[in-house]
Symmetry: C3
Subunit: 398 residues, 3 copies
């Protein structure tokens, strides 16, 4: 029914950006179904270290258990529903509810609850657990009962990610940007570079992608020809509608930067020590997408992760994670301002752009507009989105 509203190659109708019931469908069919990026293993050093990953009405505890395994639990007490961990991060020996002191071990098993009726079963009252997978040090969770498989992703990209040393990174910086707009406007903004030249002069002095499509494609062909048969230059377009049924979508591609640019910094100079097995700069950067909501930009010396999460129908958050080699030392091997300058500046600008996009769309006079040739990836997102929210309800745990 909603499909009838949509014409591929055009932006969405106003209703998709304002309607509460569509928003609820999205939460069920997208956020409770797909893999979500929760954070990085380097955030959890000692047994009992935890952090919260929160979105919409959900709060998930990501914690290191006594066997040095990372576990994910729903942050809701099984007694009367209080939040258990109140601080965004910390260390806990036990997960004890601050209300009535029901206590769970780090694996979520209920181990203490006073004065319960004699037929009360402890084993039926463990914290709800959430599927979790590590990709290198990246922590992904799924709120679905039967999560999509990550196997294709892993086998396709294993070699590539090894090259970048994905299991020996650390989180150097994390920033959250609050955006007063529907979350899709933020994802659409990330998904196209038609706006890069008019809106982001900083980005445009580093990246070629905002350049006219033809010029960019010629340069990219040259770049890839030079580097055949190297997993760094692999291409996988199994994203959105191209994902195999039952498999999580993903995409990998490497693009040239502007001539002579090593990394995403003010002067294009190095940001940090080279990642993994790399021995030299190749003046390019990779785009990696895992699931529909998580984008990584892989420079030769650092990785920038972009995550979009909704808070309500008209508010969302963009989180940015800057990651470097785990043996790099701050202020010696890298400088935070230099490392974060490009995407901090770009995202501050996008926050205003996205807010004004929502404001215009709220007008009764807004109607879906034609997409340009440079908005093809966004078109793929929209095609997939319409199909997804018209599909059956997500099988999230309930």
């Amino acid at each position: 029914m909603l499909k009838d509203n949509y014409k591929s190659g055009y932006s969405l109708n106003q209703i998709y950006y304002k309607d509460e019931s569509i928003y609820n469908l999205e939460i069920n069919n997208i956020f409770h179904k797909h893999w979500l990026f929760a954070g990085h293993t380097s955030q959890l050093q000692d047994i009992g270290d935890y952090f919260l990953y929160e979105f919409a009405d959900e709060s998930i505890i990501i914690i290191l258990n006594k066997n040095n395994q990372i576990k994910a639990h729903i942050n809701v007490c099984r007694h009367r529903g209080s939040k258990i961990c109140l601080d965004k991060e910390g260390n806990k020996n036990l997960l004890t509810c601050p209300y009535h002191a029901w206590s769970y071990d780090l694996d979520g098993a209920l181990i203490s609850a006073r004065d319960m009726p004699s037929d009360f079963k402890f084993e039926h009252n463990n914290l709800m657990s959430v599927h979790l997978e590590l990709i290198g040090g990246f922590i992904f969770i799924s709120l679905s009962k039967k999560p999509l498989s990550l196997n294709n992703f892993k086998s396709d990209l294993n070699e590539t990610l090894e090259l970048f040393g994905l299991d020996s990174l650390k989180l150097a910086m994390h920033k959250s940007f609050s955006i007063p707009a529907n979350w899709k406007l933020a994802v659409e903004n990330y998904n196209e570079c038609y706006h890069c030249v008019p809106s982001h002069k900083e980005f445009s002095q580093i990246h070629m992608m905002g350049t006219d499509n033809k010029i960019f494609n010629i340069r990219k062909d040259e770049y890839l020809k030079l580097n055949k048969n190297n997993p760094k230059y692999a291409q996988f377009n199994c994203f959105y509608d191209n994902a195999e049924p039952g498999q999580e979508g993903y995409q990998y591609d490497r693009n040239p930067l502007k001539p002579g640019i090593c990394s995403g910094t003010l002067n294009g100079e190095a940001a940090a020590p080279l990642l993994g097995k790399l021995t030299e700069y190749d003046y390019g950067a990779s785009e990696l997408m895992i699931g529909p909501l998580m984008f990584f930009l892989i420079y030769d010396d650092h990785i920038v992760g972009y995550r979009f999460t909704p808070l309500s129908v008209d508010n969302c958050v963009c989180d940015i994670f800057w990651m470097v080699r785990d043996d790099a030392v701050e202020n010696i091997d890298y400088n935070i301002n230099n490392l974060t300058w490009l995407w901090n500046t770009t995202t501050v600008a996008d926050t205003t752009i996205i807010m004004n996009n929502q404001k215009g769309i709220n007008s009764k006079f807004y109607s879906p507009g034609r997409l340009s040739l440079m908005e093809n990836f966004q078109k793929n997102f929209l095609d997939w989105y319409i199909k997804t929210i018209n599909s059956n309800k997500g099988d999230y745990i309930e």
Copy 2:
């Protein structure tokens, strides 16, 4: 159906001040149908000067084009719906969208859009334009496809407005008052002077209108008798239900001020040079209404315009425009504090009054109350309002 709720001569039922779907009907049947006061030509001096007129979810660009004509465009890009002009006022050579740089000329024609598919038609993607009419220097717009006619108004009031030099005014001051209440409570407040004596001692020392009805009518009869056959003292009551079908409503009337009062100032002394062709004070002031939402108070030396616009079902804005002769010089011919004192003071008080009216109406115990004899104009407004929101949906552009 809603009509059944209403009894003429009584205030409205609670639902009209709280219900979202009634609010949406109002936006469609009133705000998207009638002529709205956008501002004054003196706000646009140079080619490319613009200001925004915004209400509810709408933003309209009022701009001076290269032929020195004033145009009104919907402030929404035809590509993906971003707002184009972000500042409330400014000057633009081109209307360039800050998102992807689609550019429109000052007449709203799309003149630049990069990388579009070959079948994309520029001429189908101009900014949506809005009907605009000038009455003297007053700028009125209509969001309707087929606006109501202003012809009767113009022919009836032509001579009168010429007398006041309506085409040689300038905006001396503009102030916005945010009111946490439904917009109708603000209009009702403006439409009756039953509250003037208890609530507005400043007003009551200048104007006679708050005085007991009988005394006021005797004084008014004397005043009008002295001044027969002069267009300054014309009377037109073609407002609300008295409007001819297809014509916008209007009303004009002149009332005596308190004895010896020249103008709406602290001591009743002059505020500014006499308007238009006037050669002396006559100790009166005219009430002029154009459409259901715009009221002008015409003193002999300045005009005060009152505009009411909704932001949401329970918030609105009252804008006041103070206008003087266009050749008057600030601090020589007029002083802003003296000019604005009366209606600034009165409106600050009304903001609190209207807020407390809404609070009381929110109670389950509120029921419509009987109107006094001095609330007849408000009664006309309410009778018309009920008829209007029960009529067919406004034919606004969509």
Copy 3:
């Protein structure tokens, strides 16, 4: 229908804490039907003294009339619905509406309204009055047309309340705590002491009630055996579902404090002079409940009143009233910090607890949990609540 959602002995389903239409049922079936605690006679000393009792969208004027009687009026003008008294408390000779100056005497009779049509009836336009009953100096109001009877309560507890000198108290302190949660979570929190030991160490050093059920019951039996046949130790459990049809519910019970504790103060020492006819401390405190929303804790030397009122579906207020003998002198006979320390500290902690309970319940993963043996009184509240909101609409005045 809603009943089907509920399993006695478990917490409520999420919908009861988030749904607007259920909230509206609650306002009608509970807040507009039961007796509500408005305040204390000691707040009204002189003729014309008034205070407002406000909740949800309602505002009620509690005022001392010329015959030294306390009256309760709806704070909504019968003309166009403005609030009449704007300040939370004050003194008025007449209740004059600030909008159009309609004036009512202290009994709510309309005595002045200018310029009304000739058939206007003053006597049909008095302020709506509200049922009011005094219990000692406690002021209770009911918004129902046919309030529940308080007769059973009065006859059962007459002697007991006389002992505590309920008609010779004064309000020593009143504090409001804003809680960002559904009002039921605040009432549930008050209704159980399962959380006292983990959450309230201050409470637990004074009161025995948080102690393990078995130990507490043994101690209570001993305590009551010592004191048979004294109205101070009466027990009435006519609350919630135990209330007789047509009668307001109530409950009275006396419990031992920790050994050697006289009163609810930092060191358990006296807070103020002994109440009423009491001649010594008995190291206990009484729980008194009148209606479903008002709880009094009676120490030998002061009374703490707890009131819960909703502001919206997800916001409520907890008001605390500290009362002492009316002849006690501040800073000589009692000290405010000492008097208020225990319940101020406890309620500040509860505000956070209740807020985090709401946050957890908002999760899609929350499901009703099993109640402990110590949450029996809360279970009674929930059983009654489900029955009540499924019953017919409250017969409130309208």
